[in-house]
């Protein structure tokens, strides 16, 4: 762990100053016209843990992220951060309080270089007016790029790098603001197997520093390996919560993913534990996430 990270870690354990979860999503409902994208969702994210949010496409995962980060107003319900209701707090102020997020549909600053992307984030974190002053964060930026593993791309334009790299760039950009809560929206799509493994280690490290990580992810191997807690969304509702082992065995989850309508059939699969739910079927191509974005 880098020295940079160690200082972060210290500050995180000390900060907050309240008991209970860092993030609390409390009975959040989001409706688009007649469509209910999120229905009475309740979950939490705690410092030092990686929480997974999974579910089929259109289940409302990204919409949840939009509500938490402030890009989408919930129809009902509250979002509490560090014990305070932030439901009507503007996006940028939630970020100042310690939320950071990445996007499913990339939002990298395409006309800037990878390094400048992270520099901008650091500048914004320091404050716009201080942005006039020459930056003294050169080393930290390169250390960050190194840490997420994209140092080789530092001088490339952000719209010319591969998708997986751009997702890591968004993570690095978040980390420049030293967030207490990281919202990662399908961070591993576009990464190959080795890169995904390295990414999993990075996530564990980040959590070990005391950050809370909430992650929407389709790669079940990664989710099962990295997450402490998993919530499964289907049609906007949470149908199951628990540690990876519990989630694997949950019949409702298997039904949602595999479409078994017959209880017995689902039971049969449950009995054999995961092998029935093979990776191929559970990794759902991230083609359509229409509702949220």
């Amino acid at each position: 762990m880098s020295s940079l990270a160690e200082t972060f870690a210290g500050s995180h354990r000390a900060s907050g100053g309240h008991d209970g979860p860092l993030l609390e999503v409390d009975h959040v409902v989001v409706q688009f016209g007649g469509v209910t994208a999120v229905n009475e969702a309740c979950f939490t994210a705690d410092p030092g843990t990686v929480t997974g949010l999974i579910g089929p496409n259109g289940a409302g995962k990204t919409t949840c992220f939009n509500v938490i980060s402030g890009l989408q107003k919930p129809t009902r319900g509250t979002v509490r951060f560090q014990g305070k209701d932030v439901s009507s707090t503007p996006v940028h102020r939630r970020s100042k309080r310690g939320m950071g997020r990445t996007f499913q549909r990339l939002e990298a600053f395409g006309s800037l270089s990878v390094r400048d992307n992270v520099k901008v984030a650091a500048d914004i974190h320091r404050g716009v007016l201080k942005g006039f002053l020459p930056g003294g964060h050169g080393k930290n930026i390169d250390a960050l790029l190194e840490r997420v593993g994209i140092a080789a791309y530092a001088d490339e334009r952000a719209d010319s790098i591969p998708t997986g790299t751009a997702r890591l760039l968004e993570l690095a950009r978040c980390l420049a603001g030293d967030p207490k809560l990281l919202l990662l929206d399908e961070p591993s799509s576009g990464l190959d197997e080795t890169e995904t493994d390295a990414f999993g280690d990075l996530l564990r490290d980040l959590a070990a520093e005391g950050r809370a990580i909430l992650m929407v992810e389709h790669d079940m191997d990664l989710v099962m390996a990295v997450c402490d807690v998993i919530h499964v969304l289907d049609f906007g509702s949470i149908i199951a919560s628990g540690d990876p082992a519990t989630i694997r065995r949950d019949p409702a989850v298997q039904k949602a993913y595999l479409g078994y309508s017959d209880e017995d059939d689902a039971e049969a699969h449950t009995a054999t534990d995961l092998p029935a739910v093979s990776d191929d079927t559970m990794v759902i191509p991230a083609a359509r996430e229409g509702v949220g974005s």
Partner: protein, 680 residues
């Protein structure tokens, strides 16, 4: 009481016409996501066509009306959607607005070209026929207007809700890709909605022209009424749009009936629609940050400090050399070019770097000029104060719409420009009606710059200083933030940037730069009047900025010369004065999707020619000539492609280096110096 009723009826009649125009606007916007700012201009053009058919050529009125509404207007609308506005729905507002402003300017130029200014009049329909109602007369034309607005309302409702193509139209709003998958044809739907929309603009124009008169600008301004009504309906709700149009008609009518006929309040009646528009925009709900990246904006490369400084020096030297040799009149032209170039710099900051559009930049120039004259301290302090006043006004415009972005911000600036133009600038405390004020030339640190040549050089110095300052900002943290905000507002928000205040600051800075240009300009001319800061000037300014390159200082310099040349050319060739507008507009339409403009194109072209030329020379040296013509042609083609790719690669890597670290020759400053004397 009966006069009240009369004003009410009159208000409802004009409201009905606005409603027709506004529903056309809503239809095109809601199906193609392109806000056609030229909607009123098209109504104007088609009213002229109607006049031409019915009066000049003497066609029967009904035939002329039929031809305009069902042949000419739909054809124009179809053409515009097909060849001009296609694919603009997903483009950033700085592109789609520029294109529709270009359509507006082209329409105006075309109208002026085909129908040169002269007195024309169009009789109302059923002239002379009127009916007595509640003790006063209502003309058949007025009844027809109201009836037609109802027909349009019902017709649109039936079209959208009861027909197959209407369902497809509503579907294409939500997801054109999906519509395509299900066998629909979003392109055909878009073309149809533009055809109908243009036809409605024509109908509104033809109905209004007998009261408003066949005037280029009066009809152009009517679009503001349509905008206000359409925006009340959030650009998608037709019933609310009708309510908006009717209430605007009433308010306008009562204002003209009951406002005092002298003083400032008198002039309020000219700007009621603009005030209404501003109010409606301010009341809009908070805009959601848009997710989904806007791609493909390649900024012009930043020149290295050395390049920038040496070209700046060359420019100043060049101006100093030619200034001594020019006549007073030509010096004034160079000074005007310098003024415009500084204003274009303010657009480089706002539009080129920031991605926002202002339709009031010339108005800020006027504010700066007015402040400079009123402050009456012709030195650097006075100049700075004038800039600050303009900046303050700029902030005041952006502040009420702090929650909104893009289109609404631009429309707020348009409303502001019209209010200033029609009301404030002509008020007694400003320039006065048809009046002008005299200004003294600047003295710098106690030294008064009396000679025009010297003053022009000082203006060039200001251009260079502000251009360099802009480059320094762009290369620094603030410049990165600006570009980041343009690329992804949502990401900036989640990283903690309060973009609302950032945007207000950006607007203020840009207005301040324009204000300084205005202050310098008033000193150059000695006397300035309201006529020099009319709102329409901001349209041509924006278009020329885009044509010459709104992302680079070079583009600003070239654009300044170009904008100065426009009236000169129009005066020299009065026979084709309107065509110049058309040419500029077509240029802007062609170049709008690449905001780096001619400045960048010239550089690329130069590089390409150079390479080709160099290759040919190298070709002479090897012993074997190329056998066979066709093969040679292929090789030629392959090489051209290679060169084009290389040029593209080059520009990308230069940008990629970012900051001030670009080491390749900066095209940014390329042709500035050579072009400056050429324009004189």
């Amino acid at each position: 009481m009966s006069s009240f009723l009369a004003f009410t009826i009159f208000g409802l009649v004009s409201g009905a016409a606005y409603a027709i125009a506004a529903s056309g606007l809503v239809l095109t916007y809601s199906t193609t996501r392109v806000f056609n700012i030229a909607h009123g201009a098209l109504g104007m053009l088609l009213s002229f066509v109607f006049w031409d058919f019915s009066v000049r050529q003497g066609m029967p009125t009904l035939l002329a009306l039929f031809l305009v509404l069902f042949v000419v207007a739909p054809a124009i609308g179809w053409f515009l959607q097909r060849f001009v506005a296609r694919g603009l729905g997903d483009a950033p507002v700085s592109v789609s607005l520029v294109v529709t402003v270009a359509i507006l300017v082209a329409t105006l130029g075309l109208a002026q070209q085909v129908w040169p200014p002269e007195a024309r009049s169009v009789q109302p329909f059923f002239a002379g026929t009127s009916y007595e109602m509640f003790g006063f007369f209502i003309t058949a034309h007025q009844i027809l207007t109201i009836v037609l607005s109802l027909v349009v309302a019902v017709g649109l409702y039936v079209l959208l809700n009861r027909t197959r193509i209407g369902t497809a139209m509503r579907a294409s709003v939500d997801n054109p890709e999906l519509l395509k998958l299900f066998g629909g044809q979003p392109e055909r739907v878009a073309a149809l909605s533009w055809a109908i929309g243009t036809s409605l603009a024509a109908l509104a124009g033809v109905l209004l022209v007998s009261t408003v008169g066949l005037d280029y600008f009066a009809l152009l301004l009517l679009v503001i009424n349509a905008f206000a009504a359409a925006i009340l309906g959030r650009l998608q709700n037709l019933p609310l749009t009708f309510v908006g149009a009717m209430s605007l008609g009433l308010v306008t009518s009562y204002a003209s009936g009951y406002l005092p006929t002298d003083g400032l309040l008198n002039s309020v009646r000219n700007v009621v629609p603009a005030l209404f528009l501003f109010a409606v925009i301010v009341l809009m709900p908070q805009a959601q940050l848009r997710i989904g990246q806007v791609k493909g904006i390649v900024s012009a490369p930043l020149p290295s400090p050395f390049k920038a400084l040496s070209w700046s020096g060359a420019l100043l030297l060049g101006v100093a050399l030619i200034a001594g040799a020019l006549s007073e009149a030509n010096l004034l032209l160079v000074g005007t070019a310098a003024t415009y170039a500084i204003v274009m710099l303010s657009l480089v900051l706002l539009t080129g770097y920031g991605g926002h559009v202002s339709l009031a930049q010339i108005t800020f120039v006027g504010v700066g000029a007015l402040a400079y004259i009123k402050i009456d301290s012709p030195n650097l302090v006075g100049l700075l104060l004038a800039g600050l006043v303009a900046a303050g006004v700029g902030a005041l415009v952006a502040l009420p719409v702090i929650r909104l972005t893009g289109l609404y911000l631009a429309l707020a600036t348009l409303a502001f420009a019209v209010i200033m133009d029609r009301m404030i600038f002509q008020a007694d405390f400003a320039f006065g009606f048809n009046g002008s004020l005299s200004a003294e030339r600047l003295s710098i640190l106690g030294y008064q710059v009396d000679s025009t040549a010297g003053y022009v050089w000082v203006m060039a110095v200001f251009f260079v200083l502000m251009g360099l300052a802009l480059l320094v900002v762009r290369a620094g943290p603030l410049g990165r933030m600006l570009v980041a905000l343009r690329d992804s507002p949502a990401a900036c928000g989640t990283l903690g940037l309060d973009q609302r205040w950032f945007r207000v600051g950006l607007f203020a800075a840009s207005a301040g730069m324009a204000g300084i240009a205005g202050a310098l300009y008033s000193g150059l001319r000695g006397t300035v009047g309201a006529a020099e800061f009319q709102f329409f000037g901001s349209f041509t300014l924006l278009l020329l900025a885009v044509v010459f390159g709104v992302t680079s200082v070079t583009g600003a310099a070239l654009g300044g010369v170009g904008l100065m040349m426009l009236p000169v050319l129009q005066a020299d060739y009065p026979g084709i004065a309107g065509l110049f507008f058309v040419v500029i507009a077509v240029g802007a339409i062609l170049l709008a999707r690449d905001p780096n403009g001619l400045a960048n194109q010239l550089f690329r072209l130069g590089r390409l020619l150079d390479r080709r030329f160099g290759n040919r020379i190298r070709e002479r040296i090897p012993v074997l000539p190329v056998p066979g013509g066709s093969l040679g042609g292929m090789r030629e083609q392959a090489r051209a492609e290679h060169d084009a790719n290389a040029a593209a690669d080059h520009s990308l890597t230069t940008v990629g280096l970012g900051g001030g670290t670009a080491t390749t020759p900066g095209p940014d400053q390329g042709p500035a110096q050579s072009k400056e004397p050429a324009g004189v």
